[in-house]
């Protein structure tokens, strides 16, 4: 265990490694000799950052540049890359890409009226530089009478989101804020990264199992197998990655699975995995295909609510989980509402006396704790109030949940189960189960300000996050909450 004294020593050694550079000081001052103080009058009091934040276009470009710069930083610090590429190099190569394209198939182990359900296409274009994305989604409706697979396609660009429902040939537009578009592009990327790279980054028993030439390029095939931990099924998964050792290019990805003694089945098969690809003209154009019905237009498009998680209403009460985030110390921040849908009384007085770090408001439905879903451990996350915001007439509670023991990695869980109690005279019994996602991982103050304070501002009538909710204060609070658990 590293003691505080050791940290101080190491900081001292670091300081010695970065010795003073008098030449730098002289060089800067001599460059400034050519500048006069008159130049200060040419700089207005409005600083550059404020100029950026006033313009939606430059704000987005800056946000996209921050995303790229942040992921580039991971690669710069990663010294594992060598001229001969190994599988552990792959996540880093993708994290620094400006544009990514994936194309392939999802296979289904289903039959519909005696016929095998055909595979469905999968495609994602992600333009990290400009914060745009186009991706497919697959919906499977299975009942004893019928199995139906439908594809929808989502395009995120500028101020709009367009969804094409290919099954029923309809197009719908939504208006998005910059925050929403950044969030959804980030989600698209993280979902893809999670599927492709979680197991590599866990170094989960991945070995080279073969070689194959595809279109004249030689690839090493890397394979890993792992048991499904987040499930009661006796299911084993096998991931295969085709990687060129000379260029680092990914040729193919396949995920296979096996339930008990059944044969291996193919799940996902991506035959095109490109990074830093030139994005063809028109990929993000919001054109409605011929023969499709436009439900609305950009002009009549309604605003997209920040409503990422779920809504459950029953017998006059409702729980509305808006957005969740997981911090690198394992704690979780959740924006949520608990309401009596038949009441017209304002909830404001339930919030007014609350303090940062104190008890939650006694809302009609209260999320008093969380538990990781699908994980074998036994940890509960204790709740503390951070702040509340108001959007329209709705009051949103922002709570912090701190684990009382070890916590799982993202790949070891499905999400968080909301432990709820009812504070109402209505006869409810047990509140039905509900869960939220792991959400965006918050690792730095910059992440916190961009995603969490950004979400609070998004769900606030004045477009501002509450002042007292800062990264520093939240980390201090998690330490205080943890202290009794650590003893």
């Amino acid at each position: 265990m590293t003691s505080e004294e050791t940290i101080k020593e190491k900081l001292g050694e670091l300081a010695q490694a970065i010795s003073p550079d008098e030449a730098l000081i002289e060089n800067v001052m001599s460059r400034l000799d050519t500048k006069t103080t008159a130049e200060f009058s040419a700089v207005t009091t409005q600083n550059i950052w404020r100029t950026i934040m006033k313009s939606p276009i430059t704000k987005l470009a800056t946000a996209a540049a921050i995303i790229i710069a942040a992921v580039s930083l991971i690669t710069i610090l990663d010294k594992s890359a060598t001229p001969a590429y190994g599988i552990t190099d792959v996540p880093g190569l993708f994290k620094k890409a400006k544009a990514i394209h994936i194309q392939g198939w999802i296979h289904f182990n289903l039959t519909d009226k005696g016929k095998k359900v055909p595979k469905a296409p999968v495609e994602r274009w992600i333009d990290l530089e400009n914060g745009r994305a186009r991706f497919t989604g697959t919906l499977v409706n299975a009942s004893p009478e019928q199995v139906k697979v439908t594809i929808k396609e989502t395009v995120l660009s500028g101020q709009y989101k367009m969804v094409l429902y290919h099954g029923r040939k309809q197009a719908v537009f939504y208006r998005m804020s910059d925050y929403q578009r950044m969030l959804k592009t980030h989600d698209c990327l993280q979902d893809m990264f999670g599927r492709l790279f979680d197991k590599i980054e866990d170094l989960n028993n991945i070995v080279k199992t073969g070689q194959e030439e595809i279109d004249g390029v030689a690839y090493d095939i890397w394979t890993c197998e792992f048991k499904e931990t987040a499930s009661d099924l006796e299911r084993i998964n096998r991931y295969k990655y085709w990687l060129s050792p000379t260029t680092g290019e990914s040729g193919r990805f396949q995920s296979w699975y096996k339930n008990g003694e059944e044969p291996w089945r193919l799940g996902h098969d991506y035959y095109e995995i490109e990074r830093d690809v030139d994005i063809p003209e028109g990929i993000f154009a919001m054109e409605i295909p011929e023969g499709y019905e436009a439900i609305n237009s950009k002009d009549t498009a309604g605003p997209l609510e920040l409503d990422e998680q779920g809504y459950l209403g029953t017998r006059g009460l409702a729980l509305d989980a808006r957005i969740s985030f997981t911090l690198s110390d394992g704690s979780v921040i959740l924006g949520w509402r608990g309401v009596d849908t038949e009441s017209t009384v304002s909830q404001r007085e339930l919030f007014e006396q609350l303090k940062f770090g104190g008890a939650l408001p006694r809302l009609p439905v209260e999320v008093y704790a969380l538990k990781p879903l699908g994980w074998t451990g036994n940890t509960t996350y204790a709740a503390r109030h951070l702040a509340y915001t108001q959007k329209g007439d709705e009051l949103i509670e922002w709570s912090l949940y701190v684990p009382d023991g070890l916590w799982p990695k993202r790949s070891e869980m499905f999400g968080y189960e909301l432990l709820c109690k009812v504070n109402s005279e209505r006869q409810m019994g047990q509140w039905p189960g509900m869960s939220v996602d792991y959400g965006i991982k918050i690792e730095t103050e910059e992440d916190f300000d961009k995603w969490i304070r950004g979400a609070m501002a998004e769900l606030s009538n004045d477009g501002k996050a509450p002042e007292g909710v800062t990264y520093e204060r939240v980390l201090q609070l998690t330490e205080q909450v943890r202290e009794p658990f650590a003893k």
Binding site: M1, L24, T37, S41, I48, K79
Partner: protein, 174 residues
């Protein structure tokens, strides 16, 4: 000792030498920020010069002079990331790796890189006091004077920063 805010206002009033004091005060923290991104001393020195010149040019736009240190380190970080992206566009990854391998004296060793990366993850105010205390060789009293806080506050911030660094480093070893 003059605070950052006093020095910034002096520069804006025409006292250019006041900027030299700020330069000396933040020269090593800024180089540390650049080094944390770029990995080699020479590139970090170049980028640090650019960061200071940019800070001078944009000084009139700094709304809170007492936030100079944190603002400057942000500028340095952005300059370093811009430089890193520019280099990535120009070179293939294996060429950059080869250059680093050929010039091992131009970079921090792995342990110090990890520590620097951990320092970058600290909250803004803690990062600034750590940089000023260790990289600029200031006493706690001097750091307190520079940032305009009490000695007690700075001591607490340093203590929290040490604990946080310990946790970050222990986690990264696992």
């Amino acid at each position: 000792m003059r605070t950052d805010a006093e020095l910034v206002n002096a520069v804006l009033d025409g006292e250019k030498q006041a900027f030299a004091v700020l330069l000396k005060r933040y020269e090593r923290p800024v180089r540390a920020v650049a080094l944390g991104v770029l990995g080699d001393y020479h590139s970090a020195a170049d980028v640090s010069q650019e960061a200071f010149v940019k800070a001078y040019e944009q000084l009139a736009g700094l709304r809170k002079p007492k936030a100079f240190g944190a603002w400057l380190m942000k500028i340095a970080h952005r300059c370093a990331l811009d430089s890193a992206r520019q280099k990535l566009r120009e070179y293939r990854l294996e060429m950059k790796a080869a250059a680093l391998i050929e010039n091992p004296d131009g970079q921090l060793d792995e342990e110090k890189q990890r520590l620097l990366a951990a320092v970058m993850k600290l909250p803004r105010s803690e990062k600034q006091v750590v940089m000023l205390r260790y990289l600029s060789d200031n006493s706690i009293k001097d750091v307190a004077d520079i940032v305009g806080q009490s000695v007690g506050t700075v001591t607490k911030q340093l203590s929290r920063a040490h604990k946080r660094l310990r946790i970050i480093l222990e986690r990264s070893e696992k």
